[in-house]
């Protein structure tokens, strides 16, 4: 292994983080302040998620790390390597086999189970931040359940643009109480947040942890006459033909050629292995890594 404590952080720090996690689970959607540590990766790279994962990991866990839905994006590789080195835990790219999944910007397509934990990396945990920059004010608004400002914002979107102009980090109300930022996942993923797995959110720079316990009600904010809509590109995956997965649009050439592929690389791989073939046929490359480029 290494000279570091298991999963890098010392036990006292992990205990402090676990307390914050437990408090977060007890008050779903409430942002718990915690004394975030400086990590050996920069703020903005997932230091909150890494600290939460470090506090949740046990030696028997199997860890999966994704960024943009993919296991092979550089930062996902880097964080996975970090835990391989400091915790020596098993890692996997298969959603099925993981007991802890750390993610940035996506929820996997496969339905998560009760014995799984998903850890989100969060840049700005405060859903009201861009309506009110002051923490002193937003904490008060949460305490008083004063969310009128958010509804006014959504209403103004509709009156100006004809629909709610938020496509990711779409605010949700948790168990009828706290308005919560689901982290910058596309709103396509919002309905998945009512799930069997434990959802933990870590914001390192902003020193906040929050959580959604299994089977908690998570409602995307909307209006009766303008209901929430989970949207994605109106295509099927060009590699695996999936019509139900969130797609990345990849520019192929400078003549407008493009392909649509599953952002969840593991989901796409499993489907192709099961024999599903997309528009680009079975000859399409199986990876989108540098070897394929």
């Amino acid at each position: 292994m290494s000279d570091y404590n298991f999963a890098y952080l010392d036990e006292q720090t992990k205990r402090m983080i676990r307390r914050a996690i437990l408090k977060g689970l007890a008050i779903p959607g409430y942002q718990v302040p915690f004394a975030s540590r400086e990590m050996p990766m920069p703020y903005g790279w997932g230091t909150g998620g890494v600290q939460v994962s470090a506090a949740a990991l046990t030696p028997d866990d199997t860890l999966k790390v994704i960024d943009q839905g993919a296991d092979d994006t550089t930062n996902a590789v880097s964080i996975r390597k970090f835990f391989e080195r400091t915790a020596g835990v098993a890692t996997t790219e298969e959603t099925e086999k993981a007991s802890i999944i750390q993610t940035r910007h996506r929820i996997p397509e496969a339905t998560l189970r009760e014995d799984q934990i998903i850890v989100y990396q969060v840049p700005i945990p405060e859903p009201l931040r861009f309506l009110e920059p002051r923490e002193t004010e937003t904490r008060k608004m949460h305490a008083l359940e004063e969310y009128g400002l958010m509804h006014v914002k959504l209403y103004e979107d509709i009156s100006q643009h004809g629909s709610i102009a938020t496509s990711y980090a779409y605010p949700v109300k948790v168990e009828g109480r706290y308005v919560m930022d689901p982290s910058p996942i596309p709103k396509f993923d919002n309905p998945k947040m009512e799930m069997a797995a434990i959802q933990l959110f870590g914001a390192g720079r902003e020193q906040r942890i929050y959580a959604v316990p299994p089977y908690t009600k998570v409602v995307s904010l909307d209006f009766e006459d303008y209901p929430f809509e989970a949207t994605k590109a109106d295509h099927a995956c060009d590699l695996c033909a999936a019509e139900d997965s969130y797609l990345d649009e990849v520019i192929m050439d400078d003549a407008g050629g493009r392909m649509f592929v599953c952002s969840d690389t593991d989901y796409c791989r499993a489907r192709r292995e099961a024999g599903h073939v997309g528009r680009l046929g079975s000859d399409a490359p199986l990876t989108t890594g540098p070897e394929a480029a």
């Binding site: 010392d10 302040p33 400086e38 943009q68 994006t73 980090a169 952002s263």
Partner: protein
């Protein structure tokens, strides 16, 4: 091609190898030693220790070397190392009145007990490039005097004797520790000072400058600026008394600020305070000005809405490790979010176009 962003382990390893080569530069040029950095780039070492919140000149020199002279990167290396260190205790408060001063100036009095000592300052150098330094050469020895042995009293203590400057009684209360407790607002002064002393020099400088230019002006005089070494003492429970465990170099700045009085306070001089590791006087002076500006509430002054008075604004944005991390993270892949924005903008454009066409048809039908 775009998909290359989905780089694997190999891309990362290669990038690191290239970085190491670039860091070394032309191998026909001698490599820098840590001792050279520590001795000859001392002010950079000081800044890295101050903003890295860790007093260790050798490690700071290593961090500067490793970061290729990018001081914010070096500060980051220090901070990340610092969090892994065990805490085995807390020192006694350092006694800056007992400082062995290398430099000590007061702008408020022509002369003061303990004397004015210019010390090794750039202040009166003419900023002309010294081409002799480009060639290696012997340095003539600087004249030396006998160091002062007795304590050097603080200038503000003389004003205090006349009761014309605000009192700041000593306190034995344990200050908050910003590395162990999340920041909350309103913040007390210990929290503010800790945050300012490790805050980015450029940010604190800009904030302080803004107060001088009228955004919450508090007209500061440098009552005293002193730079030197102080002993660090620690209580050892097994011994039952405090022993000296080392020395640190500090820069301390106390400003004396004009104050016409408020509803709660009589007319008197007020104070701003700066204390920073190493010889870092620009930072210490700036810190004192910002500290004073942030004290408007406790002195019963008006909030004029200036940035430097706004503790949430100042304290939340002065840390360069937080700032640079969040700023630079936008270069990481965001294509999932961007994809959802693409679809939204396309949808809004389709709807706007449809509305325009419909309006046009209605107009034509009416004509």
């Amino acid at each position: 091609m775009y998909v290359a962003v989905k780089g694997g382990e190999r891309a990362i390893d290669n990038a690191h190898a290239w970085l190491a080569e670039e860091r070394r530069g032309d191998t026909s040029v001698a490599e820098l030693s840590l001792a050279q950095i520590r001795e000859q780039l001392k002010l950079a070492v000081n800044r890295v220790m101050a903003e890295g919140s860790l007093y260790d000149p050798d490690l700071a020199a290593l961090a500067i070397k490793q970061s290729r002279g990018d001081l914010i990167e070096a500060i980051f290396l220090m901070r990340a190392y610092r969090t892994t260190l065990p805490r085995f205790g807390t020192s006694q408060p350092v006694e800056t009145a007992d400082m062995a001063c290398d430099r000590r100036v007061s702008a408020t009095f022509k002369d003061v007990p303990g004397g004015q000592v210019l010390g090794p300052t750039f202040d009166y150098t003419h900023r002309l490039l010294d081409f002799k330094l480009a060639a290696e050469g012997e340095l003539p020895e600087a004249p030396s005097g006998t160091p002062r042995r007795e304590p050097t009293p603080h200038v503000t203590s003389f004003l205090r004797g006349e009761d014309i400057i605000e009192d700041q009684p000593a306190s034995d209360a344990t200050p908050k520790d910003i590395t162990r407790e999340p920041m909350s607002f309103p913040a007390d002064r210990t929290t503010r000072l800790q945050t300012l002393t490790r805050g980015d020099e450029g940010f604190i400088l800009g904030m302080a400058y803004s107060t001088q230019r009228g955004y919450a002006r508090n007209h500061a005089f440098v009552g005293e600026l002193r730079i030197g070494s102080v002993a660090v003492e620690m209580d050892i429970p097994e011994l039952g008394f405090a022993i000296e465990i080392g020395e640190v170099e500090l820069t301390e700045c106390e400003t004396v600020n004009q104050f016409k009085g408020s509803k709660t306070e009589p007319p008197q001089f007020t104070r701003g305070y700066g204390l920073v590791f190493g010889q870092t006087e620009r930072k210490a002076i700036a810190m004192a000005l910002v500290d004073r500006a942030l004290r408007w509430r406790e002195l019963g002054e008006d909030d004029v809405g200036a940035a430097a008075q706004d503790e949430e604004f100042v304290l939340s944005h002065c840390d360069n490790i937080q700032a640079t991390g969040f700023l630079e993270h936008i270069k990481l892949p965001h294509y999932v979010d961007f994809q959802s924005e693409l679809e939204l903008v396309r949808k809004l454009r389709r709807e706007a176009e449809a509305a325009r066409v419909a309006a046009q048809q209605a107009r034509e039908a009416a004509e």
